[in-house]
Amino acid sequence: MRTLSAPFLCIAAALLAGCGSSLDLPSAEESRASAADHRTRTAALDSSINAAAAGLPGGADIVSRTRLSAVNRLLDRVTAAGTKDVHVEFLATRPLWREETTVLGIPVVNHIDIESGRLDIDLKRFRFTGTDANTLTAEIEIEGEGRAAVSGRYAGVPASASPTARFYLRDSIRFVIAAADSDAVRLTPLPKTVMLKTKVSVSLLGWNVPYDREIPLSSTDLIRPVVVPSALRSEIVFPLPAAQYGEQRLEYVRRFISFTRSSVRTVNGVLEYRGTIDLTKE
């Protein structure tokens, strides 16, 4: 037995030596002195850290701050994705243009009607450019060109043509921000009339009609409310210890996340959301 024990002791001694004084806990006094020293040094660091971190938001379970520049980068993807962002389908418009005149003393009606046609409009720009209290301002620019099928009568002679139609709009639209049903932020455009510049250059039997109008559109018709998600999950599959012994150490249970007392605001080019989170069992 003695010969068996000796190697154990030697190995143990060697390992203990390798681990330094791990088994030799410091005395209570030594530990207290060490803790006091660490606390003093930590307190000195804390004061400078607290000063640097003073501007960080708090006061809610969760605060998220989304930089509008990041949202704009995402919107740039949308505007750059193609040139057919908006489709326009011309319906019969009778008349587009009408004039009463006389030819050789005979009264005639010259008119041009749109029969059909379509064009695609490119969303060239949609960017948030400013913030004010609980509103965001976005600049929008769209431009497109296509062809319309027109018919008409000039000096009593019927004719048809396929002129070029051009649309252009550049304006700013303000959005009011509000917390949506969950953690998301809803952007709703404020009512405003924006003007869609329309130009159709019709040439019919030598009769040139430059149709150049601004068509009023309502911002609330033009843009639907947008819900910006917050990158938070509405549920978590939560790992817990497996209640029964087996190969799996963990088991997974679903927890739903509810958001309450949500509020949003804008701060210096940042969209801030804050709310309370509660976890509920399935």
Partner: protein
């Protein structure tokens, strides 16, 4: 009755030492250090625990101070989350009362997990009990764990890394005389406890969709026309830029990594 021989005591002693050093072989000196507390008085152990917590806090504060001295300000990211200590505790409380197993004969029950956020460090104190069914031994445990943050399989976790484990053994009958040895046996199991502790999950979604709804406008002024826009989805993924801990909150900064449009 013949008294036990000297060699018997040597054998017992050497076996005891073997039990004591086994955890070192399993997980290194750092974690196991407090297990030596089996033979020290509670005040000594308590003071050592507090000293270790203070040391961990200092190390965290030093790292954070160095980070804050850099020119890139905290929160200068595309999206920044500020999770409160209260939220962390709500999340960690999901573990309260849960039972798991270290092996087929040793179960554990997590009584409570409480998280405290300091400048540069998050420390969770876990009150739990381990029960060795074969020897009918209860071990009450108080564990101090450092929370380390990680992203794994699209999930954002805080993992619990114990750095202080303070066990108190409760045994009954003749077993009580072997309390120390039993505690050492349990200690071997407990030394790998961090492998068993579930991580605390944060509800951050790294794959996101930003839906742009379809729209239709009927214009009946000037030119009759219908203007339509197709529904689109902006797909984007986020990557963690950094995670910092300041008193009372965890700051998680994320940047947009990839973005695309789906129609």
């Amino acid at each position: 009755m013949r008294p036990p021989s000297f060699s018997f005591f040597i054998f017992l002693f050497s076996m005891r030492l073997l039990f004591l050093i086994s955890p070192f072989l399993l997980s290194g000196c750092f974690l196991v250090r407090p297990f030596a507390g089996a033979d020290v008085d509670q005040e000594q152990l308590r003071a050592a625990r507090e000293a270790k917590v203070a040391e961990v806090r200092l190390q965290g504060a030093e790292r954070l101070a160095r980070r804050l001295a850099q020119p890139d300000p905290v929160g200068n990211a595309d999206l920044t989350f500020y999770f409160s200590e209260a939220l962390l505790n709500k999340t960690a409380a999901q573990l309260d009362g849960s039972t798991g197993w270290l092996d087929s004969l040793t179960s554990y029950n997590i009584r409570s997990v409480r998280v405290k956020l300091y400048n540069g460090s998050a420390i969770a104190t876990i009150s739990m009990a381990a029960f060795q069914h074969e020897y009918d031994v209860d071990v009450d445990l108080l564990m101090d764990c450092l929370l380390t943050f990680a992203v794994d399989s699209g999930r954002f976790y805080a993992r619990l890394e114990p750095f202080n484990i303070v066990p108190t053994v409760k045994a009954s009958g003749v077993i009580a005389s072997m309390e120390g040895i039993i505690q050492d046996i349990l200690s071997i199991k407990l030394s790998t406890l961090n492998d068993y502790l579930p991580p605390i999950q944060f509800p951050v979604d790294f794959q996101n969709r930003f839906p742009v709804p379809a729209n239709r406008i009927e214009v009946r002024s000037g030119i009759n026309m219908d203007i339509t826009t197709p529904a689109q989805q902006v797909l984007y993924s986020l990557a963690v830029k950094e995670a910092l801990i300041v008193t009372g909150k965890v700051v998680v900064a994320l940047n947009v990594k990839h973005a695309g449009v789906e129609r």
